[in-house]
Amino acid sequence: MTALTQPGPPSGAGPAPVLTARPRPGEAVIKACLMTAAAASVLVTAGILFAVVEPALEFFSRVPAGEFFTSDTDSPYAVYPLIVGTLLTTAIALTVAVPIGLGAAMYLSEYASKRARKWLKPTVELLAGVPSVVYGFFGVFFVIPVVLQGWLGLGISAYNPLGGGLVLGVMIIPTVASLAEDSLSAVPLALRQGSLAMGANRMQTTLRVVFPAALSGIAASAVLGISRAVGETMIVLMVCGSIKNMSLNPGEGHETMTGTIARTALGESPVESTEYKYLFAVALLLFAITFVMNMVSIAIVRRFRQAY
């Protein structure tokens, strides 16, 4: 098979070095510690499940599921009205965040120079760093009374999901923009060159080639935006109102899932009360929703990553 017929070269002789494995206990301990730290993140999830599921089960053992899964606003434990409130807020937030986040992402990935991007991107990301209490304050004292009721003259309640959704939307712009930008930037340069070489201008290239190619990533960014919006608490607590309301009018006050949790917790119900356990049933539902949303988003991202 090989032409290895020649006499071999002088082969190594001499004192054989010790190659046997040396025990390195320090290394092993460190590795074990690091691994524990990594495993801790799984423990956190387990902890969340334990902390939420156990009281939630306790709740359902005390209250029939029918009083939870109901749209009857007279039931103190009705969850459907909360879902309506959360849905309205989320829908409005996405209406703000998806187009604007996408626009910002397109600018950053298709138009901005590298240097500009280095500063513009963190600037947009600042919006996610502003505390939600501050957004809530702004929503209650500015967006609703000054902008919506004042400038736009809307005859709406002082607390409502319209205002809450708008400020929440501003807050999640960076969430959408960041992931959308990743997926736009992942579109190979060759596609842009192909389009430009044919005489398309930048807008056409962006909208007709880059955007469709990145569509799934953009969808994932919107889904991630949903899970952020559903989980946000202080803004909805402060701005959206507290009525269990099945109406789809976003100008009326609505209680949301996170709003209920925080409001009741602020009220310091004793740990054993059914009211307190109710929070965990709502939290379990909330966790399930964000979990599913996040898995959907991960799945979409996986698929688009494989495309190139």
Partner: protein
């Protein structure tokens, strides 16, 4: 010359030097305008927020904002108390301050950092430097981290509240809040640390390993030091998020506190700055709401300052290999 070419030639002279780029036609400009709008809409909102809040808080940019605890006496009636020998400035709601919140938030931030950074960096180091990327464990942790990053903050509060109940410590003490916040930012710390480690080129690792260094030696002496700017950027951003969070602390039972926490601070009842602002904003006295506005500006200054530091570290010190 073919007919196609002739036509082209004719077209050429008419359109090539039109003097206007098709990147500057009406639709393109409108589109670009929309993108600019998108980019600056959020920033404009933030600007409006800061200006509006700063204007309403303007009367309260004074040192009392930092040095005084919450004060509830009606300003006029506080003046009347001057007769009894008490200084109205120490009672009047017009001089209410956020001392306990600021002190509390600093304690919280330090404790959170002490909990989250070692844990998060260790986990990231394990995942990047030790674990096989294809192992089941890595994959589970990976997905798990992405999920944790999306878990609502209130739920972290509930987890910490349950933990505290299980351990049997009092509600409303610093460690409970710090645990909630540390859990909240843990995924951020892990994810950014991993990115920072990943950006250290493999050549550096191989160079070290080929000399007979162990994996840990390589990590500790080569990879981690090179990743420090990236790790600090991520950690500062995570902490700046933690310092502004209120929702999980509500679940921990953080309430109004008008006294200095005692050493060791972690077991002391404390108040958090954002929650104190939330309470002040809920007060019906206008002077207290002014204080809330001023407090918001202070909180924003802290957070934006931390963000700025993080960005500067990222842009200046992060080596591009």
């Amino acid at each position: 010359m073919s007919s196609a070419a002739t036509t082209a030639a004719a077209v050429t002279t008419s359109t090539l030097a039109s003097g206007r780029s098709q990147d500057r036609d009406l639709r393109s400009l409108a589109f670009l305008g929309a993108l600019w709008f998108s980019l600056f809409f959020g920033v404009a909102v933030l600007f409006a927020l800061i200006v509006d809040t700063a204007i309403s808080g303007a009367p309260r940019f004074d040192s009392a904002l930092f040095t005084q605890y919450t004060q509830t006496f009606d300003p006029e009636r506080a003046e009347a108390l001057a007769a009894t020998g008490r200084d109205p400035k120490d009672l009047s709601a017009a001089y209410t301050g956020f001392r306990s919140g600021i002190v509390g938030s600093i304690i919280l931030m330090i404790t959170t950092a002490l909990l989250a950074i070692p844990l998060g960096v260790s986990a990231a180091v394990y995942l990047e430097e030790f674990a096989s990327k294809t192992s089941r464990f890595s994959k589970v942790v990976e997905v798990n981290l992405q999920n944790l990053a999306a878990v609502p903050a209130v739920i972290y509060g509930m987890l910490a509240a349950t933990l505290m109940a299980v351990v049997g410590v009092q509600r409303g003490i610093a460690i409970g809040g710090a645990v909630a916040l540390a859990l909240l930012i843990l995924p951020v710390v892990i994810i950014t640390t991993r990115e920072a480690l990943r950006s250290v080129p493999d050549e550096i690792r191989q160079g070290s390993l080929a000399l007979g260094a162990t994996v840990w030696q390589t990590t500790w002496r080569q990879t981690l030091p090179s990743a420090v700017p990236g790790i600090s950027t991520g950690t500062i951003l995570g902490l700046s998020r933690a310092i502004g969070e209120a929702a999980p602390l509500v679940m921990i039972g953080f309430g109004a506190i008008n006294f200095a926490p005692e050493f060791p601070f972690v077991t002391s009842k404390i108040e958090a700055f954002p929650l104190e602002i939330f309470n002040a904003a809920s007060d019906s006295k206008e002077v207290v709401q002014q204080a809330a506005s001023a407090g918001i500006i202070v909180l924003l200054a802290m957070i934006l300052g931390m963000n700025a530091v993080a960005i500067i570290i990222r842009n200046k010190f992060q080596r591009s290999w």
